[in-house]
């Protein structure tokens, strides 16, 4: 491809992406506008009066607590996912045990089930176990989103690792578990990281589990908080968009850090 053509296509590409991501730009830019500027006709595409009052206003509210809750819920859910999914994927990839295909089927099917179907029963079960209004309820529920995805993605990855690596470790007298921990885990770290990040995103984005299981607002994540804030802030869209920007920030940071791995991982984890 000639340099000239490459340049033209690059510019067209930038325009397409800029148009496509306009809503994200609009969210961030609105957060920096004053209340009077939001409703101006014609709308200003860049704040004339750049101000951070909206961020200060929402920070003085409950955003700090919501943010912390989101980190706790998504962080713990990710931990649960990795502790369960990494060994499971390895076992499915390496051990010749009975029922591998039916266990794979369980993961495939559970991955497709809507939260709505399990919501009411889980509510009743968690109620009986006394788990309502605790972090445990959304942590356990959102972990079910990441587990099947991660198992399916990591199994494919583990199957691609040459067996000789572990065999060499076994001859050295390593046990199977130590071979797994000392040989397999280190070389799979990028893939494990991708699973962790995506499970984190799944849990970070959850609304339905938290608002259902936790009536106690002290335990709400950002998503529930922002949903509730619609009523409270009314049409103070600059405050709402500041809230939204804060909610999205960690996702974008993680995405930028892991972009290359994430895009590849998403494809292989979704199609299988």
């Amino acid at each position: 491809m000639s340099n000239r053509k490459s340049l033209v296509l690059s510019i067209v590409g930038i325009v397409i992406v800029a148009l496509f991501l306009f809503p994200v730009y609009w969210m961030i830019i609105t957060a920096f506008k004053a209340q009077t500027e939001i409703f101006r006709t014609p709308p200003t595409l860049f704040p004339q009066n750049f101000q951070i009052d909206s961020f200060i206003a929402v920070m003085q509210g409950d955003v700090g607590q919501y943010f912390l809750n989101s980190v706790i819920i998504a962080g713990l859910a990710t931990l649960v996912v990795l502790l369960l999914a990494v060994p499971s994927a390895y076992g499915l990839a390496r051990f010749k045990i009975k029922g591998v295909s039916s266990m794979m089927l369980i993961f495939l099917v559970t991955q497709m089930l809507p939260a709505t179907v399990v919501l009411t029963p889980l509510f009743i079960v968690f109620n009986n176990l006394g788990l309502l209004n605790t972090y445990a309820a959304p942590v356990l529920a959102t972990a079910t989103l990441g587990v099947p995805f991660s198992v399916l993605l990591l199994r494919t990855f583990f199957m691609g690792i040459p067996k000789e690596l572990e065999e060499a470790a076994n001859i050295d007298g390593c046990s199977r578990l130590r071979a797994f921990l000392q040989v397999i885990i280190p070389i799979s770290l990028p893939s494990v990281l991708v699973c962790g990040a995506i499970s984190f995103f799944f849990a970070w984005g959850d609304l339905i589990f938290s608002i259902t299981f936790n009536r106690d607002q002290e335990l709400w994540p950002l998503t529930a908080g922002i949903f509730n804030a619609v009523g409270r802030y009314g049409i103070e869209w600059n405050n709402l968009m500041a809230f939204a920007t804060i909610s999205v920030l960690p996702v974008i940071i993680i995405f930028v850090l892991l972009q290359k791995h994430l895009v590849e991982g998403l494809v292989s984890g979704s199609v299988k």
Partner: protein, 299 residues
């Protein structure tokens, strides 16, 4: 004897690796799924939730639900929502995938950055579109009016005739990058020599698209359609946050209806019945999907 013991120990090791995750999913998804079916045949509300006497009422919940006008509406809305979203996501996704498959300098980077719309929590996206689609102050109406596409502001979310499509637009935006990504992977796996010989035979781009790309890409497109259907059919957040099912039930879908029965009316059995209808419809689609990918590889 020793060999049997060894084999058992070896197997046990395998199960120790595999089973915790399987049990976790069975407890938190499998068991609730069965429980939901039982619930839908009982009469559970707040009074007997925590251990009062529950009675089996046969199909009474399903009959109650089916008699409500909103049930039919929500099935129809769910189907329109799903088909509308998936149709446009796949078409736009395909165009973008084709564009980015031309190997220009920034292609990979730009394609990757679009994923942001898929990663943003749906609650935030829904709120953002609600803001942009506001009838007076929303940027969408303002822009359309500035360029004289419309004279009067459109009630994107306040008009019952339009609201469903406004919600679909938000959902299309969320889903485009994911469709694009899967289709890109499919496109990059197509054999290049077929295109070269077609060019030698004087085929234009349209002929190449219709006679080479689409037929070769058909398995991938089918998978993308199925996945799109499965993931869109269970929509909740976008509708719940943007419209809450309104105005006048015009955007009510099965999942928001089930949620309303269970957690606004606290009629858990009615909610379970609606959720079950959703499940059965999804189950049929999933079976078709599983059969399709099973042909590709032994799972």
């Amino acid at each position: 004897m020793i060999q049997v013991w060894k084999k058992l120990r070896k197997d046990a090791g395998g199960y120790l690796f595999v089973l915790p995750a399987v049990i976790f999913m069975l407890l938190l998804i499998g068991y609730p799924l069965l429980y939901n079916i039982i619930l839908s045949f009982q009469n559970v509300d707040l009074s007997n939730l925590a251990g009062g006497k529950r009675e089996f009422v046969g199909f009474a919940n399903y009959r109650t639900v089916a008699e409500e006008e909103v049930f039919g509406i929500s099935i129809q809305n769910t189907l329109v929502y799903t088909v509308g979203s998936v149709f446009f996501q796949v078409i736009i996704g395909f165009c973008l995938a084709s564009f980015f498959s031309m190997k220009f300098k920034l292609a990979g980077f730009l394609r990757g950055i679009m994923m942001i719309s898929w990663l943003i929590p749906m609650t935030v996206t829904a709120l953002l579109f609600k803001f942009m689609m506001g009838s007076e102050e929303g940027i969408l109406n303002q822009m359309l009016m500035t360029f004289y596409f419309i004279e009067e502001p459109i009630g994107w979310l306040s008009s019952p005739n339009i609201a469903l499509w406004s919600v679909i637009i938000a959902n299309i935006w969320i889903g485009i990058p994911f469709n694009m990504l899967l289709l890109s992977t499919g496109l990059s796996s197509l054999p290049q020599d077929v295109y070269e010989s077609a060019s030698l035979d004087g085929a234009n781009w349209w002929q190449k698209l219709v006679h080479i790309t689409l037929p070769l890409l058909k398995p991938v497109i089918m998978v993308v359609l199925m996945l799109g259907f499965i993931y869109t059919f269970k929509v909740f957040d976008v509708v719940y946050v943007m419209t809450g099912g309104g105005p006048i039930n015009s955007t009510e879908v099965l999942s928001t209806l089930a949620f309303r029965y269970s957690f606004s009316d606290f009629d858990f059995s009615l909610g379970a019945a609606v959720a079950n209808v959703l499940f059965i419809m999804l189950f049929v689609i999933s079976l078709i999907y599983l059969r399709m990918i099973k042909k590709d590889e032994a799972i």
